[in-house]
Point group: C2
Chain length 367, copies 2
């Protein structure tokens, strides 16, 4: 094998596939990157068995071949090389020779036969959307996946296509986050659950650029994302996702409109006092045109007042401040709408016009 | 006590004194900041008994008084307050009331009598130098203080005034770093050892601005730095500092001139291979106009070539790459000079003209 590639191109590729390389594993081959050189293609692949990433690099191919190389040492070497042409050669003893200007490394690799290839997925009928939109939809929902694996299904996000809308949903038992996007083209109904780890890595690779698109291919067991010069394959989580849409009531007893940044800052301050003990929530008191947020613990007392527009009844209700903060930080609207039915029922924060986002947060019972 | 202060002013002051507040201590009062309000002054003080910092704030004073308040919660509250006027009041039960716009906190404090005041130091005859220069001198030497406290004296830096020069010196048993600066005015000879922790914190507070000055006052047990609106008092380390100047020989057998960034990059790459086992150093081979840097370990082999200008003999010598990297990263010259006598004697890197910096690094014996 012998391939020539610019250092920057190589580094971008290595950093991309590195996201799918295990750092803690008992199987050393999972700590490797595969370098695969064909007649007209140079590919890097990382695969931790749950998530696989393949990156295609611009390169001059002298001689095809392939090798699996320790990802950590290879990525560190590439990072430190001069900004110039990098020659990578592999001999019959799986010894990799890297030269760049007056710098030369010889690193032992492993046979590419040991490497576990990505699952083969037939690419047909993709869902195509803008990368910036998918990036935003993941960002605005991923914070409320479950961390603990008591119900593994909740450590992923639901990707649901229904009535020509893409819904991305996360549920952790205390809250529900939903982002909805109308699709430009007709697409068949689909329901899959994608692991949170996959989405967190995809979010980093997705471009914020307005125009670039990503193609998504679904199978029974896997999902494949194709974008820029990369392919990301992830296994799906199996099981039934909670029926989230039944818990969003449209009736309300109290509705408030409030400036998002003001209420966020007030809750963040109140959380300084509330956070120490989980049993000390922040309390909301809604009266006329005033929302009072307060907390009282061993650390001290806090009292915050915020101007609101209110419809319906007065209300006293309490929350774990973290859940409100997480949602309020990712919403982009300046004025938001909070809906309540009683002090024992969830608060719903939703886009008043397009319903493009909906957040549901369970209250904490007041003593 | 009642004082009014802008949030920004308060936050800057809190962040400054926070550097002298203990985070791990069995004495709760050491986790506090003292707020001290006189007729015409508002001071914040942090003191961990080794290092003390006092910051004077612009404020409107309504009623003098003082209180010790938990530094962590107070600093977090101040950080999150709106950008506006902050009122701080303390009642007779040591309860602190903080209001800012529509936000109000009540936090229990402790009597200021509990707080351990800074040592009283008579301010006379200061050494006055530019903050930017002191900041640079600390930055360029502090990396080679000893970390382990086998010889506590080596965890500090020598501040020595001799022949109208200020020398700052650190020694960790494997290397010596020296920065020298000629003083603008005559100053008496002084030798003190300042704890590394003090200098690390002072380095952060010192201004990079060209013009601002710092005044340094020395006593038998303490040193006091006065700058901007802050005072920093530190105890000194007691004991004899190694006689560093005798080990710098001016004779040499080999002298090379080399581009600093080129040699630094090459050593950083070689360190990727060498670092795993301390017994595998990087090897220098100096021949004619070429320096070859190499290393050979379980991880692989590296070979680097760098153009040099050589005077004197050929040489083979080996080093722990970290020690060279640390020094080469802080030097600002583009072309540097390395001096050797033999493969068993230290390498000296020094400013060829003004001797404003000198680094000495012990070699590793080659097998």
């Amino acid at each position: 094998m012998h391939v020539i590639c610019q250092k920057d191109e190589l580094l971008t590729g290595v950093n991309t596939v590195l996201k799918a390389v295990s750092t803690r594993t008992t199987l050393p081959i999972l700590q490797c990157i595969l370098l695969d050189v064909y007649e007209d293609e140079f590919k890097l692949i990382g695969n931790d068995l749950e998530l696989g990433i393949e990156s295609n690099l611009k390169a001059t191919i002298i001689k095809p071949g392939s090798i699996a190389i320790d990802a950590r040492i290879f990525s560190e070497i590439v990072k430190k090389l001069p900004n110039s042409e990098v020659h990578i050669k592999v001999d019959e003893h799986q010894l990799m020779n890297i030269t760049c200007e007056k710098s030369e490394f010889n690193i032992p690799g492993q046979s590419s036969n040991e490497f576990i290839q990505l699952p083969q997925i037939t690419k047909k009928n993709p869902l195509v959307i803008k990368q910036s939109i998918l990036k935003e939809m993941i960002h605005q929902t991923i914070f409320s996946i479950a961390i603990e694996e008591i119900r593994p299904i909740l450590t992923g996000e639901l990707f649901e296509i229904k009535n020509n809308n893409l819904n991305i949903v996360s549920v952790d038992g205390y809250r529900v986050s939903i982002r909805q996007k109308e699709l430009a083209k007709q697409f068949e109904d689909i329901t899959v659950i994608i692991p949170g780890k996959t989405l967190a890595e995809i979010q980093k690779i997705l471009d914020s650029d307005e125009e670039n698109e990503v193609a998504i291919y679904f199978t029974d067991k896997h999902v494949l994302f194709e974008m820029n010069s990369s392919i990301i394959v992830s296994r799906l989580l199996e099981g039934d996702f909670p029926k989230y849409d039944q818990i969003f009531s449209t009736d309300y007893e109290t509705l408030i409109k409030v400036d998002r940044k003001s209420i966020l800052s007030s809750i963040e301050r109140a959380a300084l006092i509330a956070r120490e003990s989980k049993k000390s929530p922040v309390k909301f008191q809604i009266e006329n045109s005033l929302l009072t947020i307060s907390s009282n613990t061993d650390l001290g007392k806090v009292h915050e007042e915020i101007d609101i527009k209110k419809e319906g009844n007065e209300l006293e209700i309490a929350f774990n401040p973290k859940y409100l903060i997480d949602a309020l930080r990712v919403i982009e609207d300046n004025e938001i709408q909070l809906i309540f039915t009683s002090s024992l029922n969830p608060c719903i924060i939703k886009d008043p016009i397009k319903e493009s986002y909906k957040y549901l947060i369970l209250p904490i019972r007041l003593n």
